[in-house]
Amino acid sequence: MSELILGVSAFYHDSAAAIVRDGVPVAAAQEERFSRVRHDSSFPARAVGYCLDELGVSLPDVSAIAYYEDPRLKFRRVLATLIGAAPTGFASFRETIPGWLGTGGKLDALGNVRRELASLGRGPVPGIVARRHHESHAASAFFPSPYDSAAVLCVDGVGEWATTTLWHGRGTELTSLAEIRFPHSLGLLYSAFTYFCGFKVDSGEYKLMGLAPYGEPRFAELILERLIDVKPDGSFRLNMGYFAYLRGQVMTGRAFEKLFGGPRRTAEGPLTQREFDLAASVQKVTEEVMLRLARTARDRTGESVLCLAGGVALNCVANGKIVESGIFDEVWVQPAAGDAGGALGAALAVAMTNGARREHTGRGRDAMSGALLGPSFTSAQIAAYLDGRQIPHQRLEPGDLPGAVAAELASGRIVGWFQDRMEFGPRALGARSILGDARDPSMRSAMNLKIKFRESFRPFAPAVLASEVKDYFDLGQESPYMLLVAQVAAARQVPVTDTGATGIDLLRVPRSTIPAVTHVDGSARVQTVTADGNPGFHALLTAFRERTGCPVLVNTSFNVRGEPIVNSPHDAYTCFMRTNIDTLVMGDFVLHKSEQPPWSEESDWRSEIPLD
C-alpha cells in the first residue's frame, strides 16, 4: 500500500502544492499557473486540486499534509525583529502585526490550511504537520537528488530564523550541521541591491544577475568592508546600519544611498553605469561567499557532491562558479529552489520520517522526472479544444513531428512548444517553451520584440543535447534544470569587432556562433537535455541537429513577459495569438499563424499584465 504525502507552501510568495508517493515526487505545481496571477501567494487551492486529480485521489487517501514552514517560530522572529527595532519601527509594527493575529492571520497558517483544504470538498482533512523552512529546502535539495550521500547547502532570504543552513544528507536522513540566522542573510543582501537598482524584490533578482556582466565590480571591496563581514569559512554578518528591513518595509535607507552615491534608481528609470557596477559588485561578493560556503560544506561533510536549494540557489552564475571551482565533483540543484519547492521538500521530509526509501539513487538518476510534474493534456483533450473553437490545425504522425518542427525552426520561425507535463519551478524546460534558432543573429531581438514585447538586457537560454554539451560550453557536468551558467566553448566564440557599442547595446555584438544565447561576457545559462529527462524535446533537438549540424536551440518560457508560464491549451493558444509566435505545436497538433482567424479581445490585455 503506497503512502501519499501532500506538501503545501503558501501565504508568502509563489505558493505551491506537491504530492509525494512513497518518497517519490509524482505531482507538483505552482498556484500562479492556474490562477494566472504571477507569484500568487494565496492558498494553492487549484494546485492542490490538480495534485489530487493527477493521482485520482481525495484527501482521506493522503496520510499527512506537510506545511513548508513553522508559522509560530516565524512569528517569534517577526516579533523579535520589531521589538529589536523599537522605537523606530512603529509604521512597520502597525502594518505587520494585524496580518499575523486573529482568525485567518498568518500565525494560524496551519488552521488556515485546514480550513482551505476542508472547503475544497475533497473529504476529511488529514493531520497537518509543519516542517521548518530550511528543512523543507534541504529535503527538496537532497532527497530527490541522485546521491546516496551529499553535502547540502540552503541559502535564501529568510524563513523562520535561518537564512543559510548546512546539512549532511545520508540515505533517508538529513543532519543539520550549522546555520546563520536573520537578520544576516545573503539573499536579503542581494535583494537590497535588487531594490536599490530599481527592480522588484523577490522576483527582480535574476535581472540584477543578468545586469552584472555589463559592469565592473568596483564596489565589491566596499561591500566587503562595510556591508558584510565574511569569515574564511563563509559565515557572515551584515552591518545592519546600512539596511532598513529591520525597522521598515523597505530594504535600504539613507546610509546605503550615501555609500553608493545617491538615491536608488526608480522602477522604470534609465539604467546607468552605476547600476551595472552595483550588480557586478554584489554578484561578485555573492559568488565569493557561496564559494567559501561550498568549501566549508565539503570540509565539514567530507562529501564529494553538493546539493543546493533556497532562493540564492537560483543564482545560476554563482552555481556555475561552484561547479567551475572543482570544490565538488558534481553539483545538483533542486529545480524549484525557491519557496515553491518548499511544498515538495516538506512532503519529502515527512515521507522519509515515515519510512520511505530512496530507490532512485541505485539507478544513478534523480527523482524529479525532469521537473515535469505538472498537468498534461491528452491528444483527445487538445483535439476537443481545437475542434470546439474551430481552430485551423494539422495533426502529424508522432514520428514526423520532430523533423517537421526542426524544419520550421531552421527556417527562422519561432515555435511555441507545448508538450507533456508542465514544469515545476521557475524555468521552462521544453514542456511549455518558446523555441528559436540560436545561430540566428536577429533571433534575440525578434523574440524580445515580437513575443515578450520588451527589449531585454539579457540573452535567452540555450537548450543543448547533453551528449554534445562539451562541444558548445565549458561545462563538465549535466545541467538539466537550466541552473548552471558556463562559458561558451572557445571553439564556438567569434572574434569581437569593436563596434563602439556601450551599455546594453553590447548585447547586439555577436560573440559566438550561437549569439542569441550568449551574454556579453561570453556566458550562457545552459540546459542539457537527455532522452531520459525529456524524450520529446530530445527528439526535437536531435532532428534539429541532423538538419543543421547544431544541437542547440533557444529555449525561453512560454509566456508574455510579466505573465505566468502557460498551463493549458487555452493559455497556449491565447499567448500564440497575442504574440508573433509563428507556429504552435501542442502534442501532435501543428498550428500556423498564417492560417488562423483574426484575433480580437474586448479589453487591452497588455494593460492588464503588470510590469515584471
Binding site: L73, R76, R77, A80, T81, L82, I83, G84, A85, A86, P87, F90, F93, R94, I97, P98, W161, L166, S176, L177, A178, E179, I180, R181, F182, P183, H184, D229, K231, D233, S235, F236, R237, N239, M240, L246, T296
Partner: protein
C-alpha cells in the same frame, strides 16, 4: 482605534523591552567582530532563536 491600541502596545511594551534587551545583550546578534573566527551557529536540538539553546561558534583568536 486599532492604531491607538497598537501604538500603546508598541511604545509602552515593545519599546522598553527592546531597549532593555539591547542594553543587556545583543538580541539579533548584530555585533560584528574582527576577532571572531566564525559566525556559524551550531543548532542544538530544536533551537528556537539566537542565543536560545544554541551556541555560536564564537572562537576568538
Amino acid at each position: 482605534m486599532a492604531t491607538l491600541l497598537l501604538g500603546v502596545v508598541y511604545f509602552l511594551l515593545a519599546t522598553p523591552i527592546g531597549w532593555l534587551s539591547r542594553l543587556l545583550h545583543d538580541p539579533l546578534s548584530r555585533r560584528r567582530s574582527r576577532r571572531t573566527v566564525s559566525y556559524w551557529i551550531v543548532p542544538a536540538g530544536r533551537a528556537d532563536a539566537p542565543g536560545e539553546r544554541s551556541r555560536a561558534t564564537r572562537i576568538t583568536s
